[in-house]
Amino acid sequence: MNPVNYLYLAALLFTIGAAGVLIRRNAIVVFMCVELMLNACNLAFVTFSRMHGNLDGQIIAFFTMVVAAAEVVVGLAIIVSVFRARHSASVDDASLMKL
């Protein structure tokens, strides 16, 4: 199969993820969309690795997975504690930094 198709898929996933981040208010969904974008990137890395015939892309994909795992741990913890404090997981409610 033509590897370019994988790239199209990656772009599609990334766009869905980005749109989700921007549109959805629920922190969990936003979080999942971020994961989706990361995985789209992973897919693109692996595809390029395949196309160019070296392993750098795959190595980076592993790194991304590790980072994503760590991010999930920290991010979910924050979301859970925010939810406990405010009984809401809406992103827009957390705008205390606004002047």
Partner: protein
Amino acid sequence: MENLIALLIGAPLLGAAVLLLGGRRLDRTGHWLGTLLAAASFVIALVLFVDMLGKGAEDRALHQTLFTWIPVGTFQADMAFQLDQLSMTFVLLITGVGTLIHVYSIGYMEHDERRRRFFGYLNLFVAAMLLLVLADNYLLLYFGWEGVGLASYLLIGFWQHKPSAATAAKKAFIVNRVGDMGLSIAIMLMFTTFGTFAFGRVLEASDQASEGKLTAIGLMLLLAACGKSAQVPLQSWLGDAMEGPTPVSALIHAATMVTAGVYLIVRSADIFNAAPDAQLVVTVVGAVTLLFGAIVGCAKDDIKKALAGSTMSQIGYMILAAGLGPIGYVFAIMHLVTHGFFKAGLFLGAGSVMHGMNDEVDMRKYGGLRKYMPVTFVTFGLGYLAIIGFPGLSGFFSKDKIIEAAFAKGGTEGWILGAVTLLGAAITAYYMTRVMLMTFFGEKRWQPDAEGHEPHPHESPKSMVIPMILLAVGSVGGGAVFEFSGFVEWLEPVTGFEHGHAPISAAAVTAATVAVMVIGVGLAYLQYGRGPVPVVAPRGSLLTRAARRDLLQDDFNHAVFVTGGTHLTRSLVYVDHSLVDGVVNGTAAAVGGLSGRLRKLQNGYARTYAVSMFGGTAVLIAATLLMRAV
């Protein structure tokens, strides 16, 4: 001998310093110290005078250099003095009359708690005036010039708890400053033209500069003279200056300081000789002021202001004479000295009258005082005869010479100037007779003041009477002494002298002078001598009313300079606050507004930030791709 010159100035200067810094301890003896030091200066002047008489005409001038005052590059001003015949004449007048007025002030200021300070200022004045006439360069002259201005300011405003006195003092100083501007520009012109401003070198080189330059210098010097000598158009301060104590009016505003302008012009004779246009303007200014002052003098009911108008007019004579060139310089100085005697005498007489009349100055409230104040009456009367030019008295000789010289100017100008001086003589006789009649003759017209105190006119104390007698002697004899002792030859080496050729004979001029005097006296007698003088001034003709207001010159100044100036400064303050400052504050406000707008972008929604991040990334990528493609 020349070392005495500095001492001449030093004595009164020391007096001023001691009296002003000495504090209250000197309150009881201060006036004696001041008088003593003024007298010491007079004695030194006499010694120098006798010494000078003993020398030949050409080597009479003395020089003394103390130290270099301002040395910057080619600009070299020395603290140096020059005593020649012209300066000597002034020195004798200043110290002589000055000492007499110090003596007079002891009595006049007896009840003033600030008498010590008054004498300090008087001494300061004498020192500054001596510096003015002894300086050997224009810059040092300027020093003295402003020094007398300061002393005059302090003395006019001596009773400064009166707002009118404080205002008059300020006005005098500021109007004089306009004149000083002329003097400083003249000095700058001299420096750029000749590279120096020492009398000797400027005057020597004056025939080699272009006439335009010299005319400019001459006109600027004239402006200075107008300020100091109260000539039109800068005359307005002199009338108000009468707010000062009367001895001050006598010394500063009659005998000495106001004649400094004449000194300046005569001293700069060589410049004016080479600039006929400037000379013409000088004569015009003199002629206009002569009539102006005389007309004002006719209308004033305040005895001191009437005398002030007369002073203005007499100085007009001097300036006119000085503008005539070598035929007039000597007579300008001669009239200056005789005027110094009789006008100081008249003012002291007026002061004596005021002293006896509870400081009343309105002549309409005098009348018949000759019975109460015989000595004052006689001395004032002699001064009166001198000023109107009664044959044989001092004013007769000096004024007659000026009128003669005016005719001798030649051509149409000569006729016009001669006619003006004759007319002036007639008006002088008129207004002085008016003063005389209103004050000393007729019925008594004084009334009790608001608190019921009726004035008790009485003769003044000895310290006041003796100076008046001495000045009266000077007024009587001065002219004859000058006429027959060779005053012309005495001054000639300094000022130059030419005999004028009048189109009419000297005898005819004299006859005309006496005739117009008689007419003037007669007119005044008809008006004021025969019937009672109304206590309240009648409304008077248009001219009278204008003359009472100084021929509307003050109103003009007020409308143009005071009102205009106030508007100008107000609007500038406004401009400064709202425009200049506003531009700056506006910039600050603009920056603040911009940052306010930018702040709105920070709305705190994480998604908004995310959009901008994505947008930014997209733009970056697009740009990169675009660059690749190109």
